[in-house]
């Protein structure tokens, strides 16, 4: 998976059952790929990119569309059913 960009991962990537883990870099312009729809967007994703450091995203509860972002010592949970749906479809398409 190392040759995939994070955007590609989101579009075509793979996931384990019930939880998706994405390791990425904020601050390199790719944050928008994970941005939820307007209205559900937490401050974490808004405005300027945050410091460039690894972060982890996982689907906490697929049925509810709950996504947790782990960055630094923080965990931010928000709802993005569309993102979760895309990842689930990607998982189904993946030739695992």
């Amino acid at each position: 998976m190392s040759d995939l960009s994070r955007r590609n991962f989101l579009a075509h990537g793979a996931t384990a059952a019930g939880a998706v883990v994405v390791v990425g870099q904020l601050g390199n312009g790719s944050a928008s790929a994970a941005s939820p729809k307007a209205g559900a967007e937490p401050a974490f994703f808004g405005g300027e990119p945050v410091a460039s450091e690894p972060f982890v995203v996982y689907i906490r509860d697929a049925a509810r569309g709950e996504v947790a972002v782990l960055r630094g010592e923080e965990e931010i949970v928000y709802t993005d059913r569309a993102l979760v749906g895309r990842l689930q479809r990607a998982m189904r398409r993946a030739a695992w």
Binding site: P54, L70, R71
Partner: protein
């Protein structure tokens, strides 16, 4: 053991495994309290070339509840980092380590201390008390660490606020006959009375006598810990009681990428905690131990039923037939143990003493800071008439195994149920690790040594000098 490898999950993560917690009024500085939390159980002193150290990825905490709600009001956080002087060698040290900053010591560890407390209007106040504080090296042997006492003592750091702190390897001060106790609850002094009896009484064997641990010790003026912010002198004051526990936490996520990097992110999640010795070890059943480690003490009402009807109290009459008839017949909830372990002992039970912190059930080491250090210490603590010992906090020498065995065997029921007559054995039962001296509680066991001054736990045994336990039996 007190809490060495006490739960399935944490037993696989030694650097985060809290083994013992101590809290006592410092005998040589009675205006201060010393708090100690040990980690990394059963360190074989010869365990090189990668000798033991704290986890750089573990957040260590010592927490103090001073208002009785089972939640921390004051937290001391300890974070470590490691510096490798020369990555091109496999050696821990490339020559003698004569000073704590010796260039011959290849793998040094440093840490920071942060105090977090409730500030005005409930906001948390964070103060970094010290950073880049050095740990001592492990005790390797007479060639590598020829004057270990100097190395160890030079790692005692002074912090603002008249605080002392130490973090590093120590001799494990806890003593217990693990080999016998975990062999179906056998106690060597009484093994001839066991269901599967063996002939003759024998002295206990301290299974920890040749092992080290890693200790975090901090000595703090009392008025920085109490709810009233004063050095309490009245033992009956509610502000005289503090509740102490320790924990270790790991980041919520850890990912190994394809570039030999490991990413850790997210909040720290508690993976280990410890208040009263042996609580999670022998009171909480196997299926709940990992869960217990993850929760805050204010959630301990969920485990109160295990204290009220302890499994060990039911096992003793079975394992020692005819020895505990009164205990076997006692079916009421154990109000004595609920008080000792979960709320503290209220006033009126033990003359001149209380360490009651309120109705909230929480496994905390409760220390009444207004009780001065004992002029003549009894390692059986309050059971031995010494109000400065366990379960009033816990001193490094206290024989907590014997104290808790006797309490569970019924020695303390009479405190809350005057109609109960303890079995004669309840006042005698012991694992015998102190030899004859432990029977009257007046001396610590002969095979454990301590220091008279901070950090009180003795310098660690060296790898070269330590003879493996079973050599004599071969």
């Amino acid at each position: 053991m007190s809490s060495h490898r006490e739960a399935p999950e944490i037993s696989k993560d030694p650097v985060a495994d809290s083994t013992d917690v101590y809290a006592f009024v410092s005998p040589d500085r009675p205006d201060t309290v010393t708090l100690i939390s040990n980690y990394i159980p059963l360190e074989d002193p010869a365990g090189g070339p990668n000798f033991f150290e704290f986890g750089d990825d573990v957040l260590y905490r010592i927490l103090v509840d001073n208002d009785g709600d089972g939640k921390a009001d004051i937290t001391y956080e300890f974070r470590f980092y490691t510096v490798v002087e020369n990555p091109a060698t496999f050696l821990y040290n490339t020559g003698q380590i004569l000073t704590i900053d010796s260039p011959s010591w290849n793998r040094k560890q440093f840490y920071s201390v942060t105090r977090i407390s409730k500030g005005k209007r409930g906001r948390m106040k964070t103060v970094v008390l010290g950073s880049d504080l050095p740990c001592p090296p492990c005790n390797i042997g007479p060639r590598s660490t020829p004057n270990y006492a100097n190395l160890g003592n030079s790692a005692i750091n002074e912090l603002p606020g008249d605080i002392k702190v130490f973090a590093g390897q120590r001799l494990d001060g806890f003593y217990v006959d693990l080999g016998s106790i975990f062999d179906l609850g056998a106690l060597r002094p009484f093994q001839n009375l066991h269901l599967l009896n063996m002939p003759g009484a024998a002295e206990g064997v301290d299974a920890l006598r040749s092992f080290n641990v890693h200790s975090i010790a901090i000595q703090i003026p009392i008025d920085q810990l109490t709810g009233g912010g004063t050095k309490e002198t009245d033992p009956m004051s509610s502000n005289a009681v503090i509740g102490v526990y320790a924990s270790a936490s790991r980041r919520k996520a850890q990912v190994r990428d394809d570039h030999e990097h490991m990413h850790q992110s997210g909040p720290y999640m508690q993976v280990s905690r410890l208040g009263n010795p042996l609580f999670n070890e022998v009171v909480v059943p196997m299926g709940d131990k990992d869960r217990w480690n993850k929760l805050s003490p204010d959630q301990d009402h969920k485990f109160a039923r295990y204290v009220a009807q302890p499994e060990l109290a039911k096992l003793l009459p079975v394992l020692y037939p005819g020895v505990f008839p009164n205990l076997a017949a006692y079916t009421a909830d154990r109000a004595d143990l609920l008080a000792i372990l979960l709320t503290g002992i209220p006033a009126g039970i033990v003359a001149g003493f209380q360490n009651f912190s309120g109705a909230t059930q929480a496994d905390l080491l409760r220390l009444n800071v207004a009780i001065p250090p004992a002029a003549s210490q009894n390692i059986l603590g309050i059971l031995g008439g010494d109000l400065a010992g366990y379960p009033n906090g816990r001193r490094v020498q206290d024989d907590v195994t014997t104290i808790e065995l006797r309490a569970i065997a019924g020695a303390t029921i009479k405190l809350v149920d005057p109609g109960y007559t303890p079995d004669g054995a309840a006042a005698l039962i012991s694992d015998g690790t102190g030899g004859p001296a432990v029977l009257d509680g007046t001396k610590p066991p002969t095979n454990v040594s301590y220091l008279d001054t901070f950090p009180y736990l003795d310098h660690p045994k060296s790898g070269y000098d330590t003879v493996p336990l079973n050599v004599g039996a071969l």
